[in-house]
Symmetry: C2
Subunit: 268 residues, 2 copies
């Protein structure tokens, strides 16, 4: 019965995007959040589903308080509203006040929770469902691939080789589970020193673009490492997304437009 419900719910969502990375700490959750916000500002209805059950970052990045609204239907709940166009679900919004409690869950429980995030949450038929997956190729992305068969992947990496090695694994994962890849985003690509203005290639550069080219995949763009964005993310402050002078913001807006273009194009 849950199977039926999941299928029915998913059939009402136009575009499903899983933001994934081989390695942790490459900025995957931040990019998922910014992408969701920017698409919602374009007028799309967006659902953001945080399936990183051990280390959820989405509520903090969006400055969301916990507290989910129970639905009149038994066993159901409404997602948390970030804005009129953006609804969010994360294990953290469900866990109540103590955010320091670890979810010590083995695989099968995690699979159940992710399926409930689709079946038991009263999404209001979003145009885009953005899924923030934990790093790696384990239970969580596999559950998405098997449950949401038309989900497409956006792969995030940093330019350094140790991160690219894991991206190649993510690409291999997508091939094996038949998940189409929308494209690759290179994050933390160069850092401008706030004192002297020179660019520091902390994690080198262009590795993400090279791998996209080598694998015949779309390169969605490159985002610089901006200490101000890092600090804003820590405080749940997204106002920098309105600062059109910021080179981070400019690059992120272009990426969101490219994702929009590729999704709406291919579905025609």
């Amino acid at each position: 019965m849950q199977e039926e419900e999941i299928k029915e719910k998913l059939s009402r969502i136009k575009y499903k995007l899983t933001v994934m990375s081989g390695k942790g700490g490459v900025g995957k959750s931040s990019i998922a959040a910014y992408l969701a916000v920017l698409l919602s500002k374009k007028g799309y209805k967006v659902g953001l589903m945080d399936i990183d059950l051990h280390g959820p970052s989405i509520p903090r990045l969006l400055g969301l308080k916990s507290g989910i609204m129970p639905s009149p239907s038994p066993g159901k709940a409404f997602p948390v509203k970030f804005s009129d166009n953006l609804e969010v679900i994360s294990i953290e919004t469900l866990m109540g006040e103590d955010k320091d409690i670890a979810t010590i869950w083995r695989g099968p429980i995690k699979i159940g929770v992710i399926r409930q995030f689709i079946a038991d949450i009263e999404w209001s038929d979003p145009d885009f469902l953005i899924i923030d997956s934990p790093p790696g190729t384990g239970d969580e992305p596999l559950t998405v691939a098997q449950t949401i068969s038309d989900s497409k992947a956006i792969i995030v990496t940093t330019p350094q080789e140790i991160s690219l090695a894991d991206v190649r694994k993510s690409i291999n994962f997508c091939e094996k589970v038949n998940m189409e890849i929308v494209g690759i985003i290179e994050n933390m690509s160069g850092l401008i020193c706030p004192y002297c203005g020179k660019e520091i290639d902390l994690f080198k550069k262009q590795g993400g673009e090279q791998i996209a080219r080598a694998k015949g995949l779309v390169f969605l763009g490159r985002l610089p490492l901006d200490p101000k964005v890092v600090e804003s993310g820590d405080m749940g402050d997204l106002s920098f997304l309105d600062n059109k002078e910021s080179s981070f913001t400019k690059a992120m807006i272009e990426i969101a437009s490219e994702v929009e273009r590729l999704c709406t194009k291919t579905s025609v």
Copy 2:
């Protein structure tokens, strides 16, 4: 029978340390590798067990080739030797030549592999077993906690709040599974601009120390973000660990000595 074998093997290893983090990409694998190398240089026999099965980094960090030596005993194998004093096991050294293949494994398979890493690998009775765990509080660290009951945790974080939120989860995990915490390491704590020499607090500072103090835990030390170390890690070049002028190396050596002191002290 495997249970007996695991117990017997573990009884011959003096100190077991699990390097863990709540969030990915905080440098946990690098620190596990440097700690193992520095302890082995002090004359200890060290085993390094990489249980990050989806994104193993240890072989690249150490510049190890794949290729495991089968043992004369059926179903057993020798670990890969990095030096006389340091033996390593990682899923990557077992996987053969194609490093881009994703290990699309659900929890139960991962548990089995980790148990085999102990039971079926012919470790030569190391003084220290350093375990590089994937981020989070899922199957892998839980398997370690349940299989190696006297393993102690070293928790790695970066100073920014979003990483500290996950550290609090790791501390809660250790409390729940009764794993003693040796201490907390703060990584990526300040970056020196290679052009102007000024320090950039990319991810802020001191968050790790504050959390250690608040929780009554040992603060093991702070490591700066050094672009040269990042590059060396990408190439499997550990020669910077011999450069006594490097502030990263100095800090890492102090951390290794403190870990040594705390482990050998508590066992008396």
